[in-house]
Symmetry: C2
Subunit: 141 residues, 2 copies
DNA sequence: AAATGATGTAATGTCAAGCATTACATCATT
DNA sequence: AATGATGTAATGCTTGACATTACATCATTT
């Protein structure tokens, strides 16, 4: 019923790396201390972000760094990178009765509207870049 | 991770009542046959729709009827009536570290954007009335 | 007023998803 | 080689939704 916290965790992770890169060793453990979750959760987030080409992670020596311009990463990109939603956000009841006029057509009648709503949410996430967030963050320090 | 099927079930329920009112006795069992769920699920949906002033349910004798103009009921109204989402649609990680510059401000930086996205989804649902759906349904018969 | 048929609602079991955590093999650097 | 970190599997826990059973209550009909 809620969109997985992997999403906010991943955003948080990127901001920590950006903020502390160069000053601190941005290991999964260090990041985990800011997010306040188990380091494994951060490693998984980093794997997703790495697969999406946003960060680089040094195995062995440790530490993550950002390898893509934050102006080119939107909240939607992160949302996608960590698979915040698999498929549709609305859960449709499984087997409407095809022998009923309503049951037979309920999908045809509803699906596009549900998809529109989901798209509206996602489009909103596309409007915000990670760079925007870092600027907002700076302003608050 | 998905919005409860109570929502699509409730929409389906309203359409069944509208479509069969007068022709069939629209009991929870009858509706359940079209939606293909347990009648109790329909009764619960009807309770919510009744509380929202959309339907009337005859206890004892049985059968539900619509008591509000379908042009005045949007998908959002139904979504709300059945409590599709409790509070926020995004799940934020619980305890960001307040001793960290990022952890301390992550909520301030993210919350409004997440709220905007949720609002975008909900606004989209406000654009569609149940009447629109019945018209679309008619066209397909 | 009894019988019927439906609703209102509590209680329970099941199942899946997400999260947290442990453990350990692997890797790069010192 | 030793160290310190990542990659990843495995496990247990908890929560939430859904399905179902059961039954008291109610309105109508006979």
């Amino acid at each position: 019923m809620k969109i997985t916290s992997r999403f906010t965790v991943a955003v948080h992770t990127l901001l920590v790396i950006y903020h502390f890169e160069g000053k601190e060793k941005t290991t999964s453990e260090f990041i985990a201390a800011s997010v306040n979750v188990n380091p494994v959760v951060i490693r998984r987030a980093l794997l997703s972000l790495k697969a999406a080409g946003m960060v680089e992670v040094k195995a062995g020596s440790g530490g993550a760094s950002i390898v893509k311009d934050l102006k080119d990463i939107t909240l939607f990109d992160v949302y996608r990178a960590v698979d915040s939603v698999d498929g549709d956000i609305f859960h449709f009841h499984e087997n409407p009765n095809p022998a009923c006029a309503v049951g037979k057509n309920i999908h045809a009648v509803l699906d596009t509207h549900l998809a529109d709503a989901q798209r509206a949410l996602e489009n909103e996430l596309k409007k915000v870049t990670l760079y925007d967030l870092t600027q907002d963050l700076e302003r608050r320090l």
